[in-house]
Structures are given as C-alpha cells and as structure tokens.
C-alpha cells in the first residue's frame, strides 16, 4: 500500500493501539465518572424542584455539562498527550522512523480521542436525560448526540495543535487554547468567533431548541443564524484545517534524543 491508503491504514493501527492503551482501570474509572457526573447533577437539581425538569433549563444544564465540560475534559486527557506520551514512553522513534508515521500518529490519536470521548459523552447524555426526566427525552438525546460528536471532532482537532507545538506542556497549553479560543474568542461578537467550535455548537443548540426568536437582541450576537448544515460543515472544515496544520508541524519537528524516554 502507498500514499493515502497506507496513511489511513497506519492511522487505524495507531487508533486501535491508543484505544487499547486507554483501557486501563484508572481510565475506565474516569470514563465512568464522566458518564455519571451529569446524571448526578441533573438528579440533584430535579430533587430540589417538584416534578420533572423544565426542558429548556435541562437542555442548558446538559449543554454545559456534556458537550462542553465532559467532552472538553475527555479530549484534554486523550488528545493532548498525543506526542508527549510517545516521547515519554520512548515509542516516538518507532513512529518517526515509519513512512507516514507522524501523520498516522496525529490522525490515529485523533480517531482514538474522538471515539473514546464520544462514547463517554453519549453515555453521559443518555444517563443525564433519563435522570432529568425531561419531556421528549429521545429528541434531546438525538440532539445532544449530534452536539457531542461535533464537539469531539472539532475540539480534538483543535487540541492537536498544542499537542504537536508544545508536547511537554500540552495540557496547560490546551487549557489555555480552550479558554482563549473557545470561551473568549468564541463569545466575541466579531468575525474571530466564526473560527470557533463553541459558536457552532451554541448556534445548533439555539436552532434545535427553537430559542432564537425568544432571545434578547444582545444574545443573538453570540449565535450564528445560518442553517444547520453550515454549522456542521464549519466544524468539519475547522477540524480538517486544525489537523492539517498539526500534521504539517509534526512532520517538521525534531526531538533531540535527550527529550525522549
């Protein structure tokens, strides 16, 4: 095999290997915690009120807890150490000396991070919606499933950048990127927010929940009125751009022997 097919085959191999690495008791425990945490919060809120949770309120809480918090934390743990882990384990040399190994590492880790975190996010959504006892639970589950997938795809690609630029400080750099790009630039009513995943996710939530007409004019500035397919396509394009840049950077990076192992 040569070219793109070989790279994709190698990326699949990396993804499988990374997923196997993630299957440790500690990681599985954290994943279970990530799945249960939103359900526990919604259950606690529900207990403090009478009857089932109001759908809009539940959706806001669920949005903050799952596509934002759980997915973000899951990706910080799975995507950020993409290169740092290889350097620390001394496996970087095996990757760097294989044809297309560096590309495969970025793509494979991306696939593994998205698969793992999406699974955790979907589990969290399912449990939380059922715990919240909201009306039309399956509609909410479908909507949040889409948001979880888009959140994971867009942000895993975004975190690939600090992972390759600053491997030894990838976690700190990624938190910085999340705060500055996603939560600062993403809420600026300016062109810069078009390049953020948070704008797309927020706009989709507003669109699917039918909130736009009821929103005050000031809040309309922080959502994008364009149709659903544009929001989804924007996330995919952003992911492709972030991953391409990350691959280009990693293909040129050199790590002196002292940085390995």
């Amino acid at each position: 095999m040569t070219g793109l097919r070989a790279t994709l085959a190698a990326a699949r191999a990396v993804a499988g290997f990374q997923l196997a690495r993630l299957c440790t008791p500690a990681r599985l425990g954290l994943a279970a915690l990530g799945m249960l945490f939103p359900a526990v919060v919604l259950l606690a809120i529900r207990r403090s009120t009478t009857g089932p949770l109001e759908r809009s309120f539940g959706a806001v809480v669920l949005y903050a807890l799952v596509p934002e918090a759980v997915c973000m934390l899951g990706l910080l743990m799975t995507m950020c150490p993409a290169v740092a882990d290889e350097l620390e384990r001394g496996t970087w040399v095996h990757v760097a000396t294989r044809p297309g190994g560096r590309r495969a590492l970025v793509l494979g880790t991306f696939i593994a991070a998205v698969t793992w975190t999406t699974a955790v996010g979907l589990g969290a959504v399912l449990l939380a919606v059922l715990a919240g006892g909201m009306t039309d639970p399956w509609g909410l589950i479908a909507m949040f499933a889409a948001l979880v997938v888009l959140s994971c795809v867009g942000r895993a690609a975004l975190f690939a950048l600090p992972a390759v630029v600053l491997p030894s400080r990838a976690l700190v750099a990624s938190v910085g990127v999340a705060v500055v790009v996603e939560y600062l630039a993403g809420f600026l009513p300016a062109v810069i927010n078009q390049a953020t995943v948070s704008l797309r996710l927020r706009s989709l939530l507003v669109h699917w929940m039918g909130w736009r007409q009821r929103m005050p004019p000031q809040l309309r500035l922080i959502v994008d009125p364009q149709p659903v397919w544009v929001q989804c396509a924007a996330v995919v394009v952003l992911a492709i751009v972030f991953l391409t840049v990350a691959i280009m950077i990693l293909e040129r990076r050199q790590f002196p022997p002292s940085e390995e192992g």
Binding site: M1, T2, R5, A6, T7, A9, A10, R12, A13, V14, G16, F17, A20, R21, T24, R89, G90, T91, V93, H94, V95, A96, T97, R98, P99, G100, G101, A104, E251, R252, Q254, F255, P256, P257, S258, E260, G261
Partner: protein
C-alpha cells in the same frame, strides 16, 4: 547507501555531530564510539528523525527526513527498551508493521513469521512486561525487520543483555546481515567485531576513523602502544627503561604503576623481565590501552596528527 557530506548537527549550542563526511556502501557497518560520542545523533540523522543543521544526509540517494520512500526501506531498533508493558509481543510487532502501511492481515502474518524467526514464537502472546530484557530485545528486533527493510539500523542492541542473550542476538543479526545491509551503533568493539562489520569510529561528534577492522588495526598499530607495569619500585624501573630507544614515553601511575609508551612491546617485555631477574618484584604487565577508550584516545591522536 549512506552518504553524509560535511554534516553538522547542533542542538542549540551543543554539537551532536561535527562536520562528518562518510560514505557507507551496502553491507554491514559498525558505528563505534564511547557514550556521548554522537552515535545516536548520527543514527537519528540516518533514520530521518533529525535534519542536519549543515551539510547533506542521503540514504538510498535521498535525504531521509520526512521521506516516505526512504523510510519504507529502513528498519530501526532504538537503544531504549520497549516501555509498552501491557501489549503482547505479537501486538507490538503487528502494530509496527501496520505503521509501515501494511494491511491488518498482512501485518499479522508478518509479525507471527518474524517472531518465530527471532525465536519468540512461544512468548509471542505474553505481555511485553512479563518478558525478560533479552526477549524484549528480540521483540524489538522483530519489529524492526518484520517489514523486510533493505537497511537495518541498530542502536546499542546488546546493552544490558546477559552473555547468552547477547550471543543469540549476535547470531540473529549476523544472519540478517548476510542478505541485507546493517548499521550497528555500539560502544563495545568486540560486539561490532563479532558482526564482521566495517567500522566507523566517532568521538566528540567527529568521525575519527573508518574502514575495515583490518584497516583500523593497521592505523592503530602505527601508533605507540602503552604497557602498564605494576611493581614494587616503579621509579627504578622507569630509570632503567628511560634510556632505551624502544621506550617512546614513560609516566608513573600511582604508588606501584609505571606506564610505558612503545612501538616495540616485545622489547619492553624483555627489559622488564631482565629487571625482574635483577630483583624487581613485578606483579603485572598488561597493555594499558586495550579498553575502547584507549583505542579512541589513540585514534584521536592519529586524527589530530599527534601521538598519544
């Protein structure tokens, strides 16, 4: 096969290799040098992990850094131990073969075949963490050769192995080198000699000698040899030897040692024997620079145009 033209690699202000020019053709080659000599940097340049700061590196006629065509023909076994502990040897080798672009089925077949070839077929399904160091070295070697590269590069492959494991691995590598090319980096001369490889000697980032073991020995033989004599009165022995033309240099070492530089070690041995017959208590007479450091010191002397 491997060509380095005036290659320098800098890590900031630290020199990894310094103005190295060497051409290694097909066959087996040993890259010899003490720890910190620049061997790993040399290997890093050849295997496409590093780019030269100056000069040009070519492997199979093209720069290896970021060159899939070259990397496809390379197999690399690094010095570091495999730190994957949970994966089995079979999973590890299969993973590496798949990284080289093979399909899952092809990779599985190659991994099984190669692990059998290196004698790990029975332990193939055991986690790497439960294998001995020698077995992990074999697994590492299997990972480097399973995709059948044209050039196998080994960095300190025998480090930390017991004599039996070392002997077995030398046999495996020698078998490999019969049909394909090999570059082995080591700080132990006898390991490289056991592989019947040509030598390139590197020290302080500089290539100080290269050629067949015979050529290297010829170079060494042209330089004075040092002999260390341990006796009860080294000053007396030094006085006796100082006037003889066979003695090129002499220095006292500790309370009972004297080191003599000579081009005629047999003559010095005879003179020491005479001194012993005259009442000097000689407890040892050994070549002082049999160690690799001694060899390097002499090659550096030759490289700089001065005798050690």
């Amino acid at each position: 096969m491997i060509r380095l033209s005036h290659v320098t690699k800098l890590y900031g202000t630290v020199i990894g290799v310094n103005d190295v020019t060497v051409e290694l053709g097909a066959g087996a080659h040993g890259l010899l040098g003490p720890n910190g000599a620049g061997k790993t940097t040399f290997i890093g340049l050849v295997t496409g992990q590093l780019r030269p700061s100056m000069g040009r590196v070519e492997v199979f006629g093209a720069p290896p850094f970021g060159n899939d065509r070259v990397l496809r023909r390379l197999g690399f076994c690094p010095a570091s131990d495999i730190t994957e502990r949970r994966a089995t040897a079979l999973e590890w080798v299969r993973y590496l073969v798949r990284l080289s672009g093979f399909t899952a089925a092809d990779a599985a077949a190659r991994a099984e075949r190669t692990l059998e070839q290196v004698g790990l077929d029975e332990a193939a399904r055991r986690p790497l963490g439960t294998l001995s160091k020698g077995m992990r070295q074999r697994a590492k070697l299997a990972g480097a050769i399973a995709h059948e590269p044209d050039l196998l590069v080994l960095d300190e492959p025998f480090d930390g192995l017991d004599p039996v494991a070392r002997h077995d691995l030398v046999g495996l590598v020698r078998t490999w080198a019969r049909s394909r090319s090999l570059l082995v980096a080591s700080h132990l001369l006898h390991e490289v000699e056991a592989l019947h490889a040509d030598l390139a000697v590197i020290l302080g980032g500089r290539l100080v000698a290269s050629g067949s073991p015979g050529e290297i020995r010829h170079l060494i033989d042209a330089l004075p040899t040092e002999i260390r004599v341990t006796c009860d009165d080294p000053r007396r022995l030094a006085r006796q030897l100082a006037g003889d033309s066979a003695c090129v240099g002499i220095r006292l070492e500790g309370e009972q040692g004297v080191v003599i530089a000579t081009r005629a070690p047999e003559t010095i041995a005879a003179l020491v024997a005479t001194a012993a017959e005259e009442g000097l208590a000689v407890s040892a007479l050994v070549p002082a620079d049999r160690s690799l450091e001694g060899l390097f010191a002499r090659l550096v002397g030759l490289h700089r145009g001065v005798a050690p």
